[in-house]
C-alpha cells in the first residue's frame, strides 16, 4: 500500500513536471506582450519591466529558475496584479474550495440518488423525468443557470417579500446564505453527469445474478438496492469523481463571476488574456497538483468501496 502510494506520488511528480514544461513553452509562444496596455510606452520602459520580472532571460532559463523557485514555494509575481502568485492563490482558493465542496456534495448525493431512483423506476415516468433533468443539466451552461437563479430565485423573491427583506442575497460571499445559489448553479453539470452514469451502472448491476439471488432470497427491494447494488454501481461514479473534484474545487470562472465570488476561477482566464505568464503557470500547476492528488485519492477509494480491488496490483 505505502509502496504503491509512493510510486504514484513519483509518477505524479513527473506528470506535473511535464505539465509545467509544456505550459511554460505554450504561454511564451502565445502572441502578445504582458506589458502592453494600449498606452504609449517607451522601449526602455518595456525592457525595464522585462528585467524586473525576469522575462529578459531565455525561456529555458526562465523555466529552470521557475522550477527551482517552486520548490521554495515561490510561484513568482503576477505581471497584471504586481502581487505574488502564491498570495493570489492563497487569497482566492479558499472561496473556490468552499464553493466547490458544497457543489460537489449536492452533485454526488443528488446524482447518486437521482440515478438510482431512475434505474429502479426504469421506463416509468420518474425515470424519464429524472433523465430529462439530467439532459438539461448537462446541456444548459452554468452561466445561464447562475443568471436565472440570481434573477428569479434571489431578486424576484426578494422583491415579492417587500423592501428590506430578503431570502437569498444577490451576490457576494459573506454569509451561508450567499453560498447556496452559487453551489446549486455549479452543481447542476456534475449532478447530471453523475446521475446518468449512476443510472447506467445501476441498471447493469440490477441485472447481475447476485441481485437475482438476493431477490430470490426474499430481501426487500430497498435492502437490495442500498446494501448490495449501490456499492457495485458506484465504481464508475468514483472514477469520474477525481477530475470533477479537481475542476469544481479549483474555481468555476462563470459562476464566480455571476455571483461575484472572490475565487480563483477568473485567474485562469485573466492569466491567458493578459499574457500573465507566471499567473497562468501558477494556476495551472496548482490545478495539476490538485487533479493528480484527487485522482490518487479516488484510486485509493476503489479499495475501500470494493475490497476485491487490490490496489497494489491495479496498476500492475
Amino acid at each position: 500500500m505505502l509502496k504503491y502510494v509512493m510510486k504514484r506520488l513519483g509518477y505524479a511528480f513527473l506528470t506535473i513536471l511535464v505539465l509545467i514544461i509544456i505550459t511554460f513553452f505554450m504561454i511564451h509562444a502565445a502572441p502578445g506582450d504582458p506589458f502592453s496596455n494600449g498606452k504609449a510606452m517607451s522601449e526602455a520602459t518595456k525592457l525595464a519591466l522585462q528585467e524586473q520580472y525576469g522575462l529578459n532571460k531565455s525561456v529555458p532559463e526562465q523555466l529552470l529558475i521557475y522550477i527551482g523557485n517552486i520548490f521554495q514555494g515561490n510561484l513568482g509575481i503576477s505581471t497584471k496584479y504586481a502581487r505574488p502568485v502564491t498570495k493570489i492563490i492563497a487569497d482566492s482558493f479558499p472561496a473556490s474550495f468552499d464553493l466547490g465542496i458544497r457543489a460537489l456534495f449536492i452533485a454526488v448525493v443528488g446524482g447518486i440518488f437521482i440515478g438510482t431512483y431512475a434505474a429502479v423506476r426504469r421506463g416509468k415516468k420518474a425515470d424519464s423525468a429524472a433523465m430529462a433533468v439530467a439532459v438539461i443539466g448537462v446541456s444548459i451552461p452554468s452561466f445561464i443557470v447562475a443568471a436565472l437563479l440570481q434573477y428569479f430565485v434571489a431578486l424576484k423573491i426578494n422583491q415579492l417579500l417587500g423592501p428590506g427583506k430578503q431570502l437569498f442575497p444577490i451576490s457576494g460571499w459573506t454569509s451561508e446564505m450567499h453560498k447556496i445559489l452559487p453551489a446549486i448553479a455549479l452543481s447542476l453539470g456534475p449532478l447530471a453527469t453523475i446521475s446518468r452514469l449512476m443510472r447506467t451502472s445501476m441498471l447493469d448491476v440490477l441485472h447481475a445474478d447476485y441481485i437475482k439471488t438476493a431477490k430470490a432470497k426474499g430481501l426487500s427491494e430497498r435492502m437490495i438496492i442500498w446494501k448490495h447494488a449501490l456499492r457495485n454501481a458506484l465504481m464508475p461514479v468514483i472514477t469520474v469523481l477525481g477530475p470533477i473534484t479537481a475542476t469544481v474545487l479549483t474555481g468555476a470562472f462563470v459562476v464566480e463571476q455571476v455571483f461575484s465570488i472572490p475565487g480563483m476561477g477568473k485567474y485562469f482566464v485573466i492569466g491567458i488574456t493578459e499574457n500573465d505568464y507566471l499567473l497562468t503557470a501558477g494556476t495551472t500547476v496548482f490545478y495539476g497538483v490538485f487533479l493528480v492528488l484527487s485522482t490518487l485519492i479516488v484510486d485509493l477509494l476503489y479499495g475501500v468501496i470494493d475490497p476485491r480491488v487490490k490496489i497494489s496490483k491495479a496498476k500492475e
Binding site: 496596455n37 504609449a40 517607451s42 522575462l55 431578486l155 427583506k165 431570502l167 444577490i170 472572490p262 499574457n275
Partner: protein, 606 residues
C-alpha cells in the same frame, strides 16, 4: 412514500433558510454608501498606475498638488498657491496636510514621487508620456534604463547592434531599433530578445555616476519643506490639470519603504499611504474596498460621507440585480440595460467618458497609404445607425478627433463638424474609393481588406455591422479578424493589420491629449501616419504661450486629421448609470470616473 419524504425535505430546507435569513437586506446608515467599482484595482502605487479603477480609489485617498473640483477644474490641492515664471512653477504647499502616520505632507514627498515616476527601472507605464513635459525627466529616464543586450548568439547582422543612449534601445547600423527590424528573426531564439548586458565594474560605476548626474540636473526640486519647484519644457496651459493626475501624486518615502517599496507598496489596505479625504479601511481582493472618512484630512469639514464601499462586481447583469435588490447605491448600465430602464421610465444618468472610437489605418500598406481610400472607408459607414443598433445608448457621432469632454466642449464647438455624416447617399464616397484604388493600381474586385478587432460576441456585433455597411454602401468585402486584446496591440505595433477598430481616451483636460497621438513618432501611431506639416503644427503648439494662437494651431491640426484621416473617427462613447435616491452629489466625468468626494446621502431617499 419516497416522494413524500423528498417533498418534506425540500419544505424543511426552505423553512430552515427562511429562519436563517431573519434580518433583511443590508440597510446602510446615513453617510454610508455602496457602489460598484466593477473591477479590482490592479496597481495602487500611484506612479505606476495606468488604469481607471486604481485611479478612482487613489482619487479618494491621496491628494496631489492640485485636484479636480466638481466641474473638472484644477483647483488647489496640497499646493495652496502657485507662481508661474516662464515655464517654472513654484508650488507653495499647505502646512496642515498629514500622512496617515502623522507626518506632514511636504515637498520632499512630491520630489520622491517624481523621482520614482521617471526611474525607468521602476517601469512606469506613463513615464515616457510625462517625461516630455518636465525638464530633465528624459535624461533621468535614459540614465536609469537598464542596459540590455540582444540575445543573438551567432547572428552577425545583429551582433553589431549598438545601444542608443538617447532612445534607450538597441539600434542597427542605420539607426533603426533592432527590436522592430529583426523581430521575426530574433523570435527564432525565443521571446523575449534581450538580456542585461554584463557590465564591467567601470561601466557600472559610470552608470551610477550618470544616474547621479541626471538626478542632480532634474527639473523638479523641493526648495524647502513646503515649496516645490518644477520646470516644465514648455508653456503648457494645462499644467495645473496635469498635476492633478495620479502619476504625480505624492508618496511619503518613509512609508513607501516601510510598506515594502516596489514589491510591496500598494498591495493591501495597510500598505497604502494616504493624505486625502478617505482612508482605506479594508481591501478584500476581488471583492470590495472599504473607504472611511479620514479624520486627519485638512478639509474634512467638506466631506459628508463617512464610509464608501466599492464592490468589484464585474458582471453587469449581476450588478444591476444587486442594485435592484437595494445592495448598491450606484451601478453602471450596459447599452441594453439602459434601453430597458428608459422604456420603464426610470431615471438614469449619463456622462461622456472621453472615449473616441475609430478605425485606424495601416498607412504602410497599400492601398491605405492613399487618403481617398482611408476617407471612403471611414465615411462609408452610417454611424448613427451603428449607435442605434449596436451601442444602444446616446453616444454621439464623432465630428473631430478631440471629444467634447475636453474643456466642457469649448474646443469641440470651435472646431465644428468636420465630417459630413448626414448624407446617407454613398455613391460619391464609392466613387472616391474607386479613384483612390485606381491611383494605387487596384480595383474594387481585388480590394479585400481585413478588420482587426478584439475577441468576443459583443465586439463581433460591431464588426459585423461595419462589414455589412462596407459591403452594402461601397461594395467592399471585408474580412473580420478577431484576436485577444494583447495580440491586437502586438499586431498593431508591428503593422500587421489593414484596418483596426480601436479607441483612445483622454489623460488630461486639453486637446493635446488626443492630438499629439498622430505625430510621426507618436506612441500609438501604429498606422505609421506621417505628415511633416502636422508635426510642425503640434511642435509649434507645444511651445506657444498665447492661448489664442495655440488654439488656432490645434484647430489647424484637427483639420489636417479630417483631411488626411490617419484614423476614421466614428463616435464618442457615453456611459450610463443609475443611483439610488438617497445618494446625491455623485461626480462622474471623463476625468473622474467615480468621484464621491462631494457626495452625501439624504435621509428619506429609501
Amino acid at each position: 412514500m419516497k416522494r413524500k419524504q423528498a417533498g418534506k425535505l425540500v419544505l424543511s430546507v426552505i423553512m430552515g433558510l427562511t429562519l436563517l435569513t431573519g434580518c433583511g437586506s443590508s440597510t446602510r446608515a446615513d453617510g454610508e454608501v455602496t457602489v460598484n467599482l466593477a473591477s479590482e484595482p490592479p496597481q495602487m502605487t500611484s506612479f505606476l498606475t495606468t488604469d481607471i479603477a486604481s485611479g478612482t480609489i487613489l482619487r479618494h485617498v491621496v491628494v496631489g498638488l492640485t485636484t479636480l473640483d466638481e466641474n473638472d477644474k484644477a483647483v488647489a490641492g496640497i499646493a495652496e498657491t502657485w507662481e508661474v515664471n516662464d515655464n517654472t512653477y513654484t508650488w507653495k504647499l499647505r502646512q496642515d496636510a498629514k500622512w496617515n502616520n502623522g507626518d506632514p505632507v511636504t515637498a520632499h514627498d512630491f520630489e520622491f514621487a517624481f523621482d520614482e515616476l521617471f526611474r525607468t527601472s521602476n517601469g512606469s507605464g506613463y513615464a515616457s508620456t510625462w517625461a516630455a513635459y518636465i525638464e530633465g525627466a528624459e535624461e533621468v529616464m535614459a540614465a536609469t534604463s537598464i542596459k540590455l543586450c540582444p540575445i543573438i548568439a551567432g547572428d552577425e547582422e545583429l551582433a553589431d547592434a549598438k545601444w542608443d543612449e538617447e532612445n534607450g534601445y538597441y539600434v542597427d547600423g542605420e539607426g533603426s531599433p533592432v527590436a522592430d527590424k529583426g523581430k521575426n528573426k530574433l523570435d527564432e531564439y525565443g521571446d523575449p530578445q534581450y538580456k542585461a548586458c554584463s557590465q564591467s565594474d567601470a561601466e557600472a560605476a559610470a552608470q551610477e555616476k550618470a544616474i547621479a548626474e541626471a538626478y542632480a540636473n532634474k527639473g523638479w526640486k523641493a526648495l524647502d519643506d513646503y515649496t516645490f519647484e518644477v520646470t516644465y519644457t514648455g508653456p503648457y496651459p494645462y499644467i495645473p490639470d496635469l498635476m492633478a493626475f495620479y502619476s504625480f501624486l505624492p508618496i511619503n518615502e518613509k512609508l513607501y519603504e516601510e510598506y515594502g517599496g516596489l514589491e510591496g507598496y500598494g498591495q493591501d489596505a495597510d500598505k497604502i499611504a494616504y493624505n486625502g479625504p478617505f482612508t482605506v479601511a479594508s481591501w478584500t481582493h476581488e471583492d470590495s474596498i472599504i473607504l472611511e472618512k479620514n479624520e486627519n484630512y485638512y478639509d474634512k469639514d467638506h466631506i459628508k460621507l463617512n464610509k464608501i464601499e466599492f464592490k468589484m462586481i464585474e458582471d453587469s447583469a449581476a450588478a444591476l440585480n444587486g442594485f435592484e435588490n437595494g445592495d448598491l447605491d450606484m451601478v453602471g448600465l450596459s447599452g441594453e440595460q439602459y434601453r430597458q430602464y428608459v422604456e420603464e421610465g426610470k431615471t438614469t444618468y449619463a456622462y461622456e467618458d472621453g472615449g473616441n472610437w475609430y478605425f485606424q489605418f495601416n498607412t504602410t500598406k497599400k492601398p491605405f497609404n492613399n487618403k481617398k481610400v482611408r476617407k471612403a472607408m471611414s465615411l462609408g459607414i452610417d454611424v448613427q445607425a451603428y449607435i442605434d443598433t449596436v451601442v444602444l445608448n446616446d453616444s454621439k457621432i464623432g465630428q473631430s478627433f478631440t471629444t467634447p469632454a475636453i474643456r466642457n466642449g469649448e474646443f469641440y464647438e470651435k472646431v465644428g463638424e468636420l465630417y459630413d455624416r448626414t448624407n446617407n447617399d454613398f455613391t460619391a464616397i464609392k466613387t472616391m474609393l474607386e479613384e483612390g484604388l485606381k491611383e494605387e493600381g487596384m480595383t474594387l474586385a481585388d480590394f479585400k481588406p481585413s478588420l482587426l478587432g478584439d475577441v468576443g460576441d459583443s465586439p463581433l456585433k460591431m464588426y459585423a455591422f461595419f462589414q455589412e455597411q462596407w459591403s452594402k454602401n461601397l461594395g467592399v468585402e471585408v474580412e473580420i479578424d478577431q484576436v485577444e486584446f494583447k495580440t491586437r496591440l502586438e499586431r498593431m505595433d508591428t503593422q500587421q493589420f489593414d484596418i483596426a477598430f480601436a479607441g483612445w481616451s483622454l489623460d488630461y483636460n486639453d486637446p493635446m491629449t488626443y492630438l499629439d497621438l498622430w505625430l510621426t513618432d507618436g506612441g500609438i501611431n501604429q498606422g505609421k501616419y506621417s505628415n511633416p506639416e502636422y508635426d510642425e503644427i503640434i511642435a509649434a503648439a507645444y511651445q506657444e504661450g498665447d492661448p489664442k494662437k495655440r488654439e488656432e494651431l490645434l484647430i489647424k491640426a484637427e483639420k489636417i486629421i479630417a483631411e488626411d484621416m490617419p484614423v476614421g473617427v466614428l463616435y464618442y462613447s457615453t456611459r450610463n448609470y443609475v443611483t439610488t435616491e438617497r445618494l446625491k452629489g455623485v461626480g462622474r466625468s471623463a476625468f473622474r470616473d467615480i468621484d464621491l468626494r462631494f457626495a452625501e446621502t439624504i435621509a428619506d431617499g429609501n
